[in-house]
């Protein structure tokens, strides 16, 4: 059995303008030790997917349908109290902006310790000791437990966030754009750190808009567009030989995924999810759209890869 299996998940936001189908009928799975990247432009529903998995969708959002199986449990039907015990303990989260994801008023040690004490029976003293060890593990001096967030740099803070996320040894680590707010050199180091966490047997789900990063770091890639997963498969093959026109467009628009290629920016923007285009949601931007694309494309399997596009449907 897979560690995580998301089946036909739909998450909506009921806004004044209408219903936003931010995650629409998404299925994916992740095994122990897997490194999956979810890639796509901003506004495609990546974060919503991540927060749906830990059921932290604030009003006016809600999980409308679908199932989330995680390590033998079905999460969508779990009570809030049981879900709370999954959060942090079994699924760790790393956020985009380390400048804002730590409480400015609490010492690093207190923040790590509070999480530990919430889920396990450790004393405060033991929790602080673990906090020191965790900081050391993510490459920070252990005495940083006594620091406040504002005394650390962005990269150091993100290490703290990772230390916090792995301190309870969760089986799955979801990182939502963990390096977007950091400069390039720090980015590399944070990604190395995530990779180490994976080597210890954890599954990693990386959310990013950076295709090059996903290609370089992950085993598998899921490409998300306008609430749909439009392509998913093994990272190297998906990058070398993309099937979906959107994946192709994404790859062509980023420099140095594979060398010696012309950069062609992807024209246009993802659609407004209150009123997405009829049929294929990528149609307005698709260079190879045809008549059939006015209807929703089927999801098909093409030599071990999933792709949601009419091009691969043979009649």
């Amino acid at each position: 059995m897979m560690l995580l299996e998301v089946k036909n998940l739909t998450t909506i936001f009921k806004t004044k303008r209408g219903v936003v189908r931010a995650v629409d009928n998404v299925s994916l799975s992740l095994d122990k030790g897997d490194f999956l990247s979810v890639v796509g432009e901003s506004g495609c529903g990546k974060s919503t997917l991540a927060y749906s998995i830990i059921k932290l969708i604030d009003s006016p959002g809600e999980i409308a349908s679908g199932k989330i199986y995680f390590d033998g449990k079905e999460l969508t039907s779990l009570s809030e109290e049981k879900m709370r015990k999954v959060r942090g303990k079994e699924i760790g989260m790393v956020f985009q902006d380390p400048m804002t994801s730590l409480d400015p008023l609490e010492k690093i040690g207190d923040q790590i310790a509070e999480t530990l004490m919430e889920h396990t029976d450790v004393t405060k003293k033991e929790a602080w000791q673990i906090a020191r060890e965790m900081l050391e593990k993510v490459g920070l001096p252990p005495d940083r437990v006594d620091s406040y967030p504002h005394q650390l740099s962005g990269g150091q803070r993100q290490r703290v966030v990772i230390a916090m996320a792995v301190s309870l040894n969760p089986k799955l680590l979801i990182a939502d754009e963990p390096t977007t707010a950091l400069d390039v050199i720090v980015q590399e180091k944070i990604m190395d750190l995530l990779n180490e966490m994976r080597k210890e047997g954890r599954a990693i789900m990386l959310i990013t808009h950076d295709f090059a990063l996903a290609a370089e770091r992950s085993d598998r890639i899921a490409v998300m567009y306008a609430g749909w997963i439009v392509e998913m498969g093994e990272a190297e093959r998906l990058t070398k030989d993309p099937l979906h026109p959107y994946t192709r467009g994404l790859i062509d628009s980023v420099p140095d995924v594979w060398v010696d290629r012309e950069i062609k920016p992807l024209p246009g923007f993802p659609p407004d999810l209150v009123k997405p285009p009829e049929g294929c949601r990528f149609r307005p931007r698709c260079p190879v759209a045809t008549e059939r694309c006015m209807k929703e494309p089927p999801g098909v399997e093409v030599d071990g890869r999933y792709v949601k596009c009419w091009l691969y449907e043979v009649e």
């Binding site: 760790g92 956020f95 985009q96 409480d103 400015p104 999480t115 919430e118 889920h119 966030v161 916090m164």
Partner: protein
């Protein structure tokens, strides 16, 4: 922490010019407005020679700049001089007779306003967008714009005259005062275990402090609501939840963060609170500094008015310093 000490000392030194400017202004204004302590005391009918003699005895015939310098010299050596009217008691003694009444009213009004503000503001924030939220926001605007004498009288009519529940004026029923230790009746009643005076003092405090508390709570309601909404939407709150921290504790962290700007407002409000206390005192015949100040301005009791103003200014400065220190202790971003 040594930087905190340096900060406190700097802040204290900065009080000196403020007080000096205030004092100079009061000194000038008192002498520009017509009348002087002597004529206001004995009237115009007294022969001019007698008045002259009295003015000479009080030192009022000296040139203004000499009077000013002599007074300043006194202030800097901690001597506020003597009152210029009946009894000629030391000004500091007069102040000490009236200040505890004001302090007591101020503390009760202050605590009430903060409590009401935090409760109403948090309710509004947690029910954001609901009818309750709208209700609290309307409350905040109304409370903020209420005119103290008018609102005070309304409460007097309702609870004093109509319902006959509470006294409408004064600080204590004559003969019920507790033995003086601090001059704060509630505290003294507790210290001397005098239940009768405690109840009586609290009953007298009720309407004036509710008046003051409600009027000043409006600003807190608004601030707490907006801050809390802002904090609740921040990433670190979501991060706490994503780590499985109990909602009760998440709310605690949110409140703590939302409280920081409230402390700043407390410091600012305290000066306003003392001004509000003057209005409240005259509405409720409260024998405090406000009443004292108004009375002595009438009599042109120069030294008493000057002394009261200096004392007020120092007190406000001290409170705002205390607030700043609390702020620094709570917010590590300031401390380091």
């Amino acid at each position: 922490m040594s930087s905190l000490r340096a900060y406190i000392i700097t802040r204290f030194l900065m009080v000196i010019p403020t007080v000096l400017i205030l004092l100079t202004l009061v000194f000038l204004i008192l002498r520009i407005i017509p009348g002087d302590p002597i004529t206001s005391m004995v009237g115009q009918k007294v022969p001019e020679e007698v008045l002259e003699k009295m003015r000479h005895e009080a030192g009022l015939d000296k040139p203004y700049h000499i009077q000013y310098l002599e007074y300043l010299a006194g202030v800097f050596t901690g001597n506020l001089g003597r009152s210029m009217i009946w009894g000629k008691r030391p000004v500091i003694a007069e102040i000490m007779d009236h200040f505890p009444a004001t302090l007591e009213l101020t503390i009760f009004g202050f605590v009430l306003s903060v409590l009401i503000g935090i409760i109403t503001g948090s309710i509004a924030a947690f029910r954001r967008g609901s009818k309750t939220d709208t209700g609290m926001r309307i409350y905040s605007i109304i409370a903020y714009t209420l005119f103290i004498p008018w609102f005070g009288m309304l409460l007097q009519m309702l609870f004093g005259v109509y319902l006959e529940l509470l006294p409408i004026g004064g600080r204590i029923t004559p003969g019920y005062s507790p033995e003086t230790i601090t001059g704060l009746y509630v505290l003294d009643s507790i210290l001397t275990l005098n239940l009768t005076s405690l109840v009586d003092a609290l009953a007298h405090l009720a309407l004036p402090s509710i008046t003051l508390g409600i009027v000043l709570s409006g600003a807190y309601t608004r601030l707490v609501r907006n801050n809390l909404i802002d904090v609740l939407s921040q990433d670190f709150i979501r991060a706490y939840r994503a780590r499985g921290v109990r909602e009760r504790k998440v709310i605690f962290h949110a409140m703590k963060n939302a409280f920081i700007p409230v402390i700043t407002l407390m410091g600012l409000q305290f000066a306003i609170l003392l001004a509000g206390a003057v209005l409240t005192e005259s509405t409720f015949s409260w024998p405090g500094m406000g009443t004292f100040l108004i009375e002595r301005i009438e009599y042109r009791d120069y030294t008493a008015v000057q002394g009261a103003i200096v004392f007020y200014a120092m007190f406000v400065a001290l409170i705002s310093l205390v607030v700043d220190v609390i702020y620094a202790l709570l917010d590590p971003r300031i401390r380091y």
